[in-house]
Symmetry: C2
Subunit: 176 residues, 2 copies
Protein backbone atom coordinates (compact mmCIF):
# COMPACT_ATOMS: atom_id res chain seq x y z
CA UNK A 1 0.00 0.00 0.00
CA UNK A 2 1.34 3.42 -0.96
CA UNK A 3 2.16 5.78 1.88
CA UNK A 4 -0.60 8.17 0.91
CA UNK A 5 -3.17 5.39 0.93
CA UNK A 6 -1.95 4.34 4.35
CA UNK A 7 -2.39 7.79 5.79
CA UNK A 8 -5.85 8.08 4.27
CA UNK A 9 -6.82 4.80 5.83
CA UNK A 10 -5.44 5.81 9.22
CA UNK A 11 -7.46 9.01 9.03
CA UNK A 12 -10.65 7.13 8.25
CA UNK A 13 -9.99 4.75 11.14
CA UNK A 14 -9.47 7.66 13.49
CA UNK A 15 -12.61 9.43 12.33
CA UNK A 16 -14.62 6.23 12.65
CA UNK A 17 -13.33 5.57 16.16
CA UNK A 18 -14.08 9.07 17.38
CA UNK A 19 -17.59 9.06 15.98
CA UNK A 20 -18.41 5.64 17.40
CA UNK A 21 -16.80 6.19 20.78
CA UNK A 22 -17.74 9.79 21.43
CA UNK A 23 -20.36 10.84 18.90
CA UNK A 24 -20.15 12.88 15.73
CA UNK A 25 -19.38 16.10 17.55
CA UNK A 26 -16.11 14.54 18.66
CA UNK A 27 -15.10 13.78 15.09
CA UNK A 28 -13.65 17.20 14.43
CA UNK A 29 -10.88 17.72 11.92
CA UNK A 30 -8.43 18.53 14.69
CA UNK A 31 -9.25 15.48 16.80
CA UNK A 32 -9.25 13.18 13.78
CA UNK A 33 -5.89 14.46 12.57
CA UNK A 34 -4.50 14.19 16.08
CA UNK A 35 -5.69 10.63 16.57
CA UNK A 36 -4.21 9.65 13.22
CA UNK A 37 -0.91 11.30 14.07
CA UNK A 38 -0.98 14.02 11.43
CA UNK A 39 -1.70 17.72 11.60
CA UNK A 40 -4.88 19.42 10.58
CA UNK A 41 -3.21 20.61 7.42
CA UNK A 42 -2.05 17.08 6.76
CA UNK A 43 -5.59 15.80 7.00
CA UNK A 44 -6.87 18.48 4.67
CA UNK A 45 -4.35 17.46 2.10
CA UNK A 46 -5.95 14.01 1.90
CA UNK A 47 -9.54 15.00 2.54
CA UNK A 48 -10.24 18.51 1.39
CA UNK A 49 -13.19 18.98 3.72
CA UNK A 50 -15.25 17.37 6.41
CA UNK A 51 -17.61 16.25 3.75
CA UNK A 52 -14.85 14.46 1.90
CA UNK A 53 -14.08 12.58 5.09
CA UNK A 54 -17.66 11.34 5.33
CA UNK A 55 -17.59 10.51 1.65
CA UNK A 56 -14.44 8.50 2.34
CA UNK A 57 -16.29 6.43 4.92
CA UNK A 58 -19.18 5.94 2.54
CA UNK A 59 -16.83 4.54 -0.08
CA UNK A 60 -15.21 2.31 2.49
CA UNK A 61 -18.63 0.91 3.33
CA UNK A 62 -19.19 -0.10 -0.29
CA UNK A 63 -15.89 -1.94 -0.36
CA UNK A 64 -16.56 -3.77 2.90
CA UNK A 65 -20.10 -4.54 1.82
CA UNK A 66 -18.92 -6.19 -1.36
CA UNK A 67 -16.57 -8.44 0.63
CA UNK A 68 -19.28 -9.14 3.17
CA UNK A 69 -21.74 -10.15 0.52
CA UNK A 70 -19.30 -12.45 -1.16
CA UNK A 71 -18.62 -14.10 2.17
CA UNK A 72 -22.28 -14.45 3.08
CA UNK A 73 -23.29 -15.96 -0.22
CA UNK A 74 -20.98 -18.91 0.37
CA UNK A 75 -22.34 -19.74 3.82
CA UNK A 76 -25.01 -22.25 4.79
CA UNK A 77 -26.90 -20.26 7.38
CA UNK A 78 -26.95 -16.67 6.21
CA UNK A 79 -29.51 -15.54 8.73
CA UNK A 80 -27.47 -16.78 11.65
CA UNK A 81 -24.28 -15.11 10.53
CA UNK A 82 -25.97 -11.92 9.50
CA UNK A 83 -27.69 -11.32 12.81
CA UNK A 84 -24.83 -12.50 14.95
CA UNK A 85 -22.59 -9.94 13.35
CA UNK A 86 -25.02 -7.15 13.89
CA UNK A 87 -24.25 -7.60 17.53
CA UNK A 88 -20.51 -8.05 17.35
CA UNK A 89 -20.26 -4.59 15.89
CA UNK A 90 -16.54 -4.75 15.95
CA UNK A 91 -15.66 -6.14 12.61
CA UNK A 92 -14.40 -3.48 10.20
CA UNK A 93 -17.70 -3.61 8.36
CA UNK A 94 -19.73 -3.16 11.53
CA UNK A 95 -17.69 -0.23 12.70
CA UNK A 96 -18.04 1.59 9.41
CA UNK A 97 -21.75 0.89 9.35
CA UNK A 98 -22.18 2.12 12.91
CA UNK A 99 -20.25 5.30 12.27
CA UNK A 100 -22.29 6.07 9.17
CA UNK A 101 -25.51 5.32 11.02
CA UNK A 102 -24.60 7.99 13.54
CA UNK A 103 -23.40 10.46 10.93
CA UNK A 104 -26.52 9.93 8.85
CA UNK A 105 -28.66 11.36 11.64
CA UNK A 106 -27.30 14.79 10.84
CA UNK A 107 -28.77 16.62 7.91
CA UNK A 108 -25.50 17.74 6.45
CA UNK A 109 -24.12 14.24 6.01
CA UNK A 110 -26.02 13.39 2.95
CA UNK A 111 -23.36 11.00 1.71
CA UNK A 112 -23.79 8.83 4.79
CA UNK A 113 -27.51 8.43 4.26
CA UNK A 114 -27.07 7.64 0.60
CA UNK A 115 -24.53 4.93 1.31
CA UNK A 116 -26.81 3.37 3.93
CA UNK A 117 -29.80 3.43 1.61
CA UNK A 118 -27.86 1.79 -1.19
CA UNK A 119 -26.60 -0.88 1.16
CA UNK A 120 -30.09 -1.56 2.44
CA UNK A 121 -31.41 -2.12 -1.06
CA UNK A 122 -28.49 -4.33 -1.82
CA UNK A 123 -28.78 -6.51 1.26
CA UNK A 124 -32.52 -6.74 0.88
CA UNK A 125 -32.05 -8.29 -2.54
CA UNK A 126 -29.28 -10.59 -1.35
CA UNK A 127 -31.17 -11.77 1.73
CA UNK A 128 -34.35 -12.25 -0.23
CA UNK A 129 -32.50 -14.54 -2.54
CA UNK A 130 -30.73 -16.41 0.25
CA UNK A 131 -33.79 -16.85 2.45
CA UNK A 132 -36.34 -17.22 -0.27
CA UNK A 133 -38.76 -14.74 1.26
CA UNK A 134 -38.74 -10.94 0.82
CA UNK A 135 -40.78 -10.34 3.98
CA UNK A 136 -38.51 -12.41 6.14
CA UNK A 137 -35.54 -10.62 4.59
CA UNK A 138 -37.05 -7.26 5.44
CA UNK A 139 -37.77 -8.37 8.97
CA UNK A 140 -34.20 -9.49 9.46
CA UNK A 141 -32.85 -6.22 8.10
CA UNK A 142 -35.03 -4.18 10.44
CA UNK A 143 -34.11 -6.27 13.45
CA UNK A 144 -30.49 -5.86 12.50
CA UNK A 145 -30.91 -2.09 12.29
CA UNK A 146 -32.66 -2.14 15.64
CA UNK A 147 -29.70 -3.91 17.17
CA UNK A 148 -27.26 -1.47 15.62
CA UNK A 149 -29.09 1.59 16.98
CA UNK A 150 -29.23 0.18 20.44
CA UNK A 151 -25.54 -0.52 20.17
CA UNK A 152 -24.99 3.02 18.97
CA UNK A 153 -27.02 4.34 21.87
CA UNK A 154 -26.20 2.14 24.74
CA UNK A 155 -22.82 0.59 24.42
CA UNK A 156 -22.48 -3.08 25.15
CA UNK A 157 -24.80 -3.83 28.07
CA UNK A 158 -27.74 -2.95 25.84
CA UNK A 159 -27.64 -6.50 24.57
CA UNK A 160 -27.60 -9.45 26.92
CA UNK A 161 -25.28 -12.09 25.49
CA UNK A 162 -27.95 -14.69 24.84
CA UNK A 163 -30.59 -12.36 23.44
CA UNK A 164 -29.45 -12.81 19.86
CA UNK A 165 -29.56 -16.56 20.31
CA UNK A 166 -33.12 -16.29 21.47
CA UNK A 167 -34.08 -14.01 18.61
CA UNK A 168 -32.51 -16.43 16.17
CA UNK A 169 -34.37 -19.35 17.65
CA UNK A 170 -37.57 -17.42 17.26
CA UNK A 171 -36.87 -16.48 13.66
CA UNK A 172 -35.96 -20.06 12.85
CA UNK A 173 -39.56 -21.05 13.58
CA UNK A 174 -40.74 -18.83 10.74
CA UNK A 175 -41.62 -20.37 7.39
CA UNK A 176 -38.93 -20.30 4.70
Amino acid sequence: MAKGEQTRSRLLDAFEDLVIEHGERAGTLAATADEAGVSKGGLLYHFGSKDALVQGLAERLEVFAAEEERRLSSLPDVLEVFLRESVAANQPFDRTYLALLKLGQLDEHHAAREALARLDDHFLAALTQALGDPDLALLVLRVSDGIYVRTALGGSDALPADSVDRLLALLATLPR
Copy 2:
Protein backbone atom coordinates in the same frame (compact mmCIF):
# COMPACT_ATOMS: atom_id res chain seq x y z
CA MET B 1 -52.43 25.95 30.91
CA ALA B 2 -50.40 28.81 32.34
CA LYS B 3 -48.69 31.09 29.85
CA GLY B 4 -45.25 29.95 30.92
CA GLU B 5 -46.16 26.32 30.41
CA GLN B 6 -47.49 27.17 26.98
CA THR B 7 -44.27 28.85 25.91
CA ARG B 8 -42.21 25.94 27.23
CA SER B 9 -44.33 23.55 25.26
CA ARG B 10 -44.03 25.64 22.11
CA LEU B 11 -40.27 25.68 22.54
CA LEU B 12 -40.13 21.91 22.88
CA ASP B 13 -42.30 21.53 19.79
CA ALA B 14 -40.02 23.81 17.84
CA PHE B 15 -36.89 22.02 18.99
CA GLU B 16 -38.43 18.64 18.17
CA ASP B 17 -39.46 19.78 14.70
CA LEU B 18 -36.08 21.19 13.85
CA VAL B 19 -34.23 18.10 15.00
CA ILE B 20 -36.54 15.72 13.14
CA GLU B 21 -36.76 17.76 9.96
CA HIS B 22 -33.18 19.00 9.69
CA GLY B 23 -31.04 17.08 12.17
CA GLU B 24 -29.65 18.00 15.54
CA ARG B 25 -27.27 20.61 14.13
CA ALA B 26 -30.31 22.61 13.08
CA GLY B 27 -31.72 22.60 16.60
CA THR B 28 -29.71 25.58 17.74
CA LEU B 29 -30.93 27.87 20.48
CA ALA B 30 -31.42 30.69 17.99
CA ALA B 31 -33.39 28.63 15.50
CA THR B 32 -35.51 27.02 18.19
CA ALA B 33 -36.35 30.36 19.76
CA ASP B 34 -37.11 31.79 16.36
CA GLU B 35 -39.39 28.93 15.36
CA ALA B 36 -41.26 29.25 18.65
CA GLY B 37 -41.63 32.99 18.20
CA VAL B 38 -39.46 34.11 21.10
CA SER B 39 -35.94 35.46 21.33
CA LYS B 40 -32.85 33.56 22.41
CA GLY B 41 -33.03 35.31 25.76
CA GLY B 42 -36.65 34.27 26.08
CA LEU B 43 -35.75 30.65 25.46
CA LEU B 44 -32.98 30.78 28.01
CA TYR B 45 -35.39 32.02 30.59
CA HIS B 46 -37.38 28.78 30.28
CA PHE B 47 -34.53 26.42 29.55
CA GLY B 48 -31.28 27.62 31.07
CA SER B 49 -29.11 25.68 28.62
CA LYS B 50 -29.16 23.40 25.63
CA ASP B 51 -28.98 20.50 28.01
CA ALA B 52 -32.11 21.64 29.78
CA LEU B 53 -33.90 21.63 26.45
CA VAL B 54 -32.96 18.02 25.82
CA GLN B 55 -33.93 17.19 29.39
CA GLY B 56 -37.27 18.78 28.68
CA LEU B 57 -37.84 16.45 25.74
CA ALA B 58 -36.81 13.49 27.87
CA GLU B 59 -39.43 14.37 30.45
CA ARG B 60 -42.01 14.83 27.75
CA LEU B 61 -41.25 11.33 26.53
CA GLU B 62 -42.00 9.89 29.95
CA VAL B 63 -45.35 11.63 30.03
CA PHE B 64 -46.31 10.48 26.55
CA ALA B 65 -45.06 6.97 27.29
CA ALA B 66 -47.30 6.70 30.33
CA GLU B 67 -50.34 7.65 28.25
CA GLU B 68 -49.26 5.32 25.47
CA GLU B 69 -48.90 2.42 27.82
CA ARG B 70 -52.27 3.00 29.40
CA ARG B 71 -53.84 3.08 25.97
CA LEU B 72 -52.03 -0.05 24.76
CA SER B 73 -52.93 -2.12 27.80
CA SER B 74 -56.62 -1.72 27.03
CA LEU B 75 -56.35 -2.90 23.43
CA PRO B 76 -56.91 -6.37 22.01
CA ASP B 77 -54.03 -6.54 19.55
CA VAL B 78 -51.09 -4.78 21.12
CA LEU B 79 -48.58 -5.99 18.57
CA GLU B 80 -50.56 -4.64 15.67
CA VAL B 81 -51.00 -1.20 17.18
CA PHE B 82 -47.46 -1.01 18.46
CA LEU B 83 -45.82 -1.73 15.14
CA ARG B 84 -48.25 0.26 13.07
CA GLU B 85 -47.46 3.33 15.10
CA SER B 86 -43.74 2.87 14.72
CA VAL B 87 -44.32 3.69 11.12
CA ALA B 88 -46.78 6.53 11.46
CA ALA B 89 -44.13 8.46 13.36
CA ASN B 90 -46.29 11.46 13.50
CA GLN B 91 -48.18 11.07 16.70
CA PRO B 92 -46.79 13.27 19.46
CA PHE B 93 -45.21 10.25 21.08
CA ASP B 94 -43.51 9.16 17.86
CA ARG B 95 -42.12 12.59 17.18
CA THR B 96 -40.61 12.91 20.62
CA TYR B 97 -39.16 9.42 20.35
CA LEU B 98 -37.69 10.14 16.95
CA ALA B 99 -36.13 13.41 18.07
CA LEU B 100 -34.56 11.76 21.11
CA LEU B 101 -33.29 8.90 18.98
CA LYS B 102 -31.41 11.40 16.86
CA LEU B 103 -30.18 13.43 19.81
CA GLY B 104 -29.04 10.29 21.60
CA GLN B 105 -26.49 9.63 18.88
CA LEU B 106 -24.43 12.52 20.16
CA ASP B 107 -22.28 11.94 23.17
CA GLU B 108 -23.25 15.10 24.96
CA HIS B 109 -26.94 14.30 25.07
CA HIS B 110 -26.80 11.88 27.89
CA ALA B 111 -30.34 12.66 29.01
CA ALA B 112 -31.71 11.49 25.66
CA ARG B 113 -30.03 8.12 25.92
CA GLU B 114 -31.17 7.63 29.48
CA ALA B 115 -34.77 8.36 28.62
CA LEU B 116 -34.66 5.92 25.70
CA ALA B 117 -33.10 3.20 27.82
CA ARG B 118 -35.72 3.59 30.52
CA LEU B 119 -38.48 3.47 27.95
CA ASP B 120 -37.04 0.35 26.38
CA ASP B 121 -37.01 -1.47 29.73
CA HIS B 122 -40.49 -0.32 30.38
CA PHE B 123 -41.96 -1.37 27.06
CA LEU B 124 -40.10 -4.66 27.18
CA ALA B 125 -41.87 -5.51 30.42
CA ALA B 126 -45.24 -4.31 29.15
CA LEU B 127 -44.98 -6.16 25.83
CA THR B 128 -43.74 -9.30 27.52
CA GLN B 129 -46.83 -9.29 29.67
CA ALA B 130 -49.17 -8.50 26.80
CA LEU B 131 -47.72 -11.02 24.37
CA GLY B 132 -46.78 -13.67 26.87
CA ASP B 133 -43.28 -14.15 25.49
CA PRO B 134 -40.17 -12.13 26.35
CA ASP B 135 -38.35 -13.13 23.19
CA LEU B 136 -41.17 -12.10 20.92
CA ALA B 137 -41.43 -8.84 22.87
CA LEU B 138 -37.74 -8.16 22.33
CA LEU B 139 -38.04 -8.96 18.65
CA VAL B 140 -40.92 -6.53 18.25
CA LEU B 141 -39.03 -3.79 20.06
CA ARG B 142 -35.97 -4.24 17.86
CA VAL B 143 -38.04 -4.25 14.69
CA SER B 144 -39.74 -1.12 15.89
CA ASP B 145 -36.39 0.54 16.51
CA GLY B 146 -35.26 -0.56 13.09
CA ILE B 147 -38.27 1.12 11.55
CA TYR B 148 -37.67 4.29 13.52
CA VAL B 149 -34.04 4.59 12.42
CA ARG B 150 -34.92 4.13 8.80
CA THR B 151 -37.56 6.79 9.23
CA ALA B 152 -34.99 9.02 10.87
CA LEU B 153 -32.59 8.39 8.02
CA GLY B 154 -34.68 8.20 4.97
CA GLY B 155 -37.85 10.12 5.28
CA SER B 156 -41.03 8.49 4.14
CA ASP B 157 -40.20 6.46 1.06
CA ALA B 158 -38.02 4.24 3.19
CA LEU B 159 -41.13 2.28 4.06
CA PRO B 160 -43.46 0.99 1.39
CA ALA B 161 -47.01 1.33 2.65
CA ASP B 162 -47.74 -2.36 2.82
CA SER B 163 -44.42 -3.46 4.30
CA VAL B 164 -45.65 -3.15 7.86
CA ASP B 165 -48.69 -5.23 6.99
CA ARG B 166 -46.44 -7.93 5.64
CA LEU B 167 -44.17 -7.82 8.68
CA LEU B 168 -47.20 -8.10 10.91
CA ALA B 169 -48.52 -11.07 8.98
CA LEU B 170 -45.17 -12.73 9.40
CA LEU B 171 -44.99 -12.05 13.12
CA ALA B 172 -48.52 -13.32 13.56
CA THR B 173 -47.32 -16.76 12.51
CA LEU B 174 -44.99 -16.88 15.49
CA PRO B 175 -45.99 -18.82 18.61
CA ARG B 176 -47.59 -16.87 21.41
